[in-house]
């Protein structure tokens, strides 16, 4: 299948627009993206019902990036991202129960309820978070790539960041060393066109993020096309193992606001949002492919979506049953090795513990 938009390359030859796929892969894409969409919509409701507290950044609209990336790489490759991490975690093999439990601060969460929305991890599948400090995950990702090269793993790291973070100094510092040492690091700019409420052109002198690496090659990808993302990530992995870092700019879109405190409609028009939904939606694109190639009937796809809704509802019900973390968990996971260090509660004469 041909990608709908050609890749635009900087300092490298772009991969072919012809992407190999299979009926079962397309169905998996459809199912995975529908599940993510449903999960984020449910998180929105839970937040409004005050069952999720604090910050919560939703990924709906950007699903093709998480799903397409997984299709192009393996779980031995690493991914590290910022705070919009629910779907990336699911893509790495996390479960809905872990997601909703973490969002509600329960024991069965992927970080035992201690991290919350922004701090999802799944180290055994190469998912290193889940970070709350804008942009700081990119140098960490380059560090992961250093470890991979050092231990001759023949694997790569995808470090994701947004168009807002793309203008930070630390990205260029990390990229410089990554390029100097030929690290297998792929910097993935998920360009959803707004850094919080600021349009990219108001924040960046050059919003052509795939070119911003100057001496580092880059590729602009239609991030709403899961097949294009898959092709690009496969290409990026091969390139990075041979030549060092590469920047992938994923042209994508978030339907929700930046976080739950942003209605998302003050700095962009409703027409813009509905226009993207109608013309570029990643799920609808795959639905169309499945229908036009007679792989699935309309009804089957509706059933898949119904099934996703059911799975999400069941996971939420189960997560609600999950207990809050034990009070003693306040003093766990501070050190790997506590060395008998004493730690204190707010009133040290009332609450104290020896760190494990």
């Amino acid at each position: 299948i041909e990608t709908s938009i050609p890749f635009t390359a900087h300092n490298c030859d772009p991969p072919s627009r012809a992407v190999t796929t299979s009926p079962s892969e397309l169905l998996t894409f459809f199912r995975d993206m529908a599940l993510m969409r449903r999960m984020e919509i449910a998180a929105d409701s839970l937040y409004k019902a005050k069952l999720i507290r604090g910050f919560c950044h939703l990924y709906d609209g950007q699903e093709a990036v998480a799903v397409g990336m997984e299709a192009g790489i393996t779980k031995r490759d690493c991914i590290i991202t910022a705070y919009r991490d629910h779907c990336t975690f699911l893509g790495r093999g996390g479960t809905l129960l872990q997601v909703f439990s973490e969002l509600m601060g329960r024991k069965d969460g992927c970080s035992k309820g201690k991290g919350g929305s922004m701090h999802f991890y799944k180290k055994e599948n190469g998912f290193y978070g889940g970070h709350g400090i804008v942009g700081a995950q990119v140098p960490l990702g380059c560090g992961l790539a250093f470890a991979q090269k050092y231990s001759k793993d023949e694997t790569v790291t995808f470090a994701l960041y947004g168009d807002g973070a793309a203008n930070q100094g630390q990205l260029f510092e990390a990229l410089n060393i990554a390029a100097l040492w030929d690290l297998p690091a792929i910097l993935v700019c998920e360009n959803n066109h707004y850094g919080m409420g600021t349009a990219e052109w108001r924040a960046a002198k050059s919003p052509a993020y795939y070119k911003r690496g100057d001496y580092v090659p880059g590729l602009k990808v239609d991030g709403m096309d899961v097949l294009a993302v898959k092709q690009a990530c496969k290409f990026a992995k091969e390139h990075a193992l041979k030549n060092g870092p590469l920047i992938l700019e994923m042209d994508t879109y978030r339907y929700h606001g930046h976080s739950m405190s942003d209605p998302g409609s003050t700095y962009r028009t409703r027409d813009e949002i509905s226009g993207v939904r109608q013309e570029r939606d990643p799920i609808e694109r795959v639905r169309k492919l499945l229908l036009t190639h007679d792989i699935a009937a309309e009804k089957e796809l509706k059933d898949i979506e119904k099934e996703a809704r059911k799975e999400v509802d069941e996971a939420i019900a189960k997560a609600k049953e999950s207990p809050m973390p034990d009070p003693s968990d306040l003093f766990t996971n501070v050190y790997v090795k506590g060395l008998g260090v004493e730690s204190f509660g707010a009133d040290r004469k009332e609450v104290r513990a020896t760190l494990p």
Binding site: E102, G105, G115, G116, M118, A346, D347
Partner: protein, 234 residues
């Protein structure tokens, strides 16, 4: 290093301290970090009066000032006097404010914790303990004189802060009182601070990680020998 040739008249203002439900990377008090640096001034407003008077003072000051606001106080209103509303109103840097006078125990606090200390003082009053609440306003310079004068009067001290206890603001205040007013103390200094752990997200753990009014009340009663410490009771 420029022998005074270059000055840095800048104000850094931003939210500081624990917010609600945002985890370890967005809930931390940096007062003691910044305040340990010579050359910086660190201000911590509590009320509307503080915010107005101190921000103006910070902007007018010729040195770098770190202005630490508390996100959870943004939505709170405070009564203000006509004097505060006057365009000439400004506050001095380095001067604490006695928010409530008392004679039995001194409670020092800054930012959001001033409100908690005042609530604790009210609860203590019901039990016959008269607490003096000092709103530090300025962490550096620290108003050692107001603190020591108060402790020499009450002979007891409870320090309250949202930040981590080790090398914290309370530790500095305690040292100052030991250095200057040791002979006046009738009880060990009590320290209430954020728990010595990264901030957890879960609501039950988060509550344990930040000081509560009852922690302040308990510590004040201990200082006044009105309660039995846990170790002795066990």
């Amino acid at each position: 290093m420029s022998a005074g040739q270059i000055s840095v008249p800048i104000v850094f203002r931003g939210p500081n301290g624990a917010a609600a439900g945002v985890g370890a990377q967005h809930s931390q008090c940096y007062a003691s970090w910044y305040a340990s640096c010579p050359g910086l001034k660190v201000l911590t407003p509590y009320s509307s009066e503080d915010a107005r008077g101190l921000l103006k003072a910070a902007i007018r000051d010729p040195d770098p000032v770190v202005f630490l606001e508390n996100e959870l106080l943004y939505g709170e209103s405070f009564p203000v006097s006509a004097e505060v509303l006057d365009s000439s109103f400004c506050l001095p840097i380095g001067k604490a404010k006695i928010e409530r006078e008392g004679k039995d125990v001194t409670i020092t606090a800054y930012s959001k914790m001033v409100g908690y200390a005042l609530k604790a003082a009210e609860a203590l009053a019901k039990e016959g303990i008269s607490a003096e609440v000092i709103n530090l306003r300025s962490i550096r310079p620290l108003d050692r004189s107001t603190i020591n004068t108060s402790v020499r009067k009450t002979n007891r001290l409870v320090t309250v802060e949202e930040g981590f206890p080790q090398h914290g603001v309370g530790a500095e205040i305690c040292t100052s009182v030991i250095e200057e007013s040791f002979g006046y103390l009738d009880a060990p200094v009590e320290r209430i601070a954020g728990a010595d752990v990264p901030m957890p997200y879960a609501a039950n753990l988060e509550r344990m990680a930040v000081p509560q009014v009852e922690d302040i009340v308990r510590a004040a009663k201990r200082a006044c020998h009105r309660s039995v410490p846990l170790a002795a009771a066990a």
